[in-house]
């Protein structure tokens, strides 16, 4: 097994769930197939990328955009309903409700913000890498990330106020 084979195996073991999470942001039915296809393309690379995780995320993004374009609007809505479940492990604890609220808030964000937040937090990419992936500037990515986080905070505060019995 050469060095690249080892790296691919490690990526599958360590980062697969992050990649599937990223693919699911497009809310199509083939998130897992898209990730598998991205890995297949990585295996076929003659020159192994310096940052395979960034390469995989970019490939997943491109494939997902293609996949999304091929769907009709009606189907997209159907898949949106199907894919909104099972993104994260929700622990059976006191924080369960809060975690579910957070997931819901994240899912309600626009894709432009969501893809950046997921790529940053779970994909582990830097602002520069995300900028390269989304073909935009670092400052634009940074601004969208901060804005997304702020919107999430607002949404969580609102939902918390709604459920507060003393309000």
């Amino acid at each position: 097994m050469n060095e690249n084979d080892v790296r691919i195996t490690e990526l599958v073991h360590a980062r697969l769930h992050d990649l599937v999470l990223f693919a699911k942001q497009w809310k199509h039915a083939n998130a897992e197939d898209v990730v598998q296809e991205a890995f297949l393309r990585l295996m076929k690379q003659k020159v192994f990328p310096n940052n395979p995780m960034a390469w995989l995320l970019t490939t997943v993004r491109n494939l997902s955009n293609n996949e999304l374009r091929s769907r009709t609007r009606r189907k997209k809505r159907e898949f949106a309903v199907q894919e909104s479940k099972g993104l994260f492990d929700v622990p059976e604890s006191e924080q369960k409700e809060e975690v579910e609220r957070m997931i819901q808030a994240l899912e309600s964000l626009a894709l432009t913000y969501r893809e950046i937040i997921v790529a940053k937090i779970w994909g582990g990419l830097t602002y520069e890498e995300i900028a390269e992936m989304t073909a935009s500037s670092r400052s634009s990515v940074h601004r969208k990330y901060q804005e997304g986080i702020r919107m999430l905070g607002e949404m969580l505060t609102e939902t918390q106020d709604d459920t507060d019995p003393y309000r």
Binding site: L21, E32, V35, Q36, D89, V99, I121
Partner: protein, 166 residues
Amino acid sequence: MNTIEHKLSALKPVGQPELARRILDTHHRRRQRRRDCFVAFAGLLTGIAATLVVVLSLPGKVVEVSSVQYVFINEQPNDRAGHASASRNPDASTPSVPLDFGVRRNDDMNPDSIDIEAWIARYERLFRHRRETASRFVVIPQKPPILPEGVSLWEYRQSLLEKLQV
């Protein structure tokens, strides 16, 4: 990292054991196929190299390939003994006949069943280099026929050479 980011990063995406197995299976199969291809290619190269070494190191000699025997005939007057003893004819335009033309009686294969032209065509490229130095090249079956009643070895050889236009 603010509180929201901190809370988000604490979320753990759902595991994908089935997908991981599928990808690793594919990865394993690809590596296996790559290894098999490499071994087959190395074997092929070794085979070609070995054949070329043998062929190129045998100027004016008999080269045996499969069930067919190749004779390189050099018509130069100073050719080595053996193959060219009959080609010492200074008149190069006269077809020469190698004396050691390898027909043997004690075999039972009918040369007519061998598509000699096909053999020549098949190996022509391989032996092109030799053909440049050996002005002519003939192919004869390694396993000669049971000669028909009343036909001598000499007559058979002549007819075969005619057929080959040697």
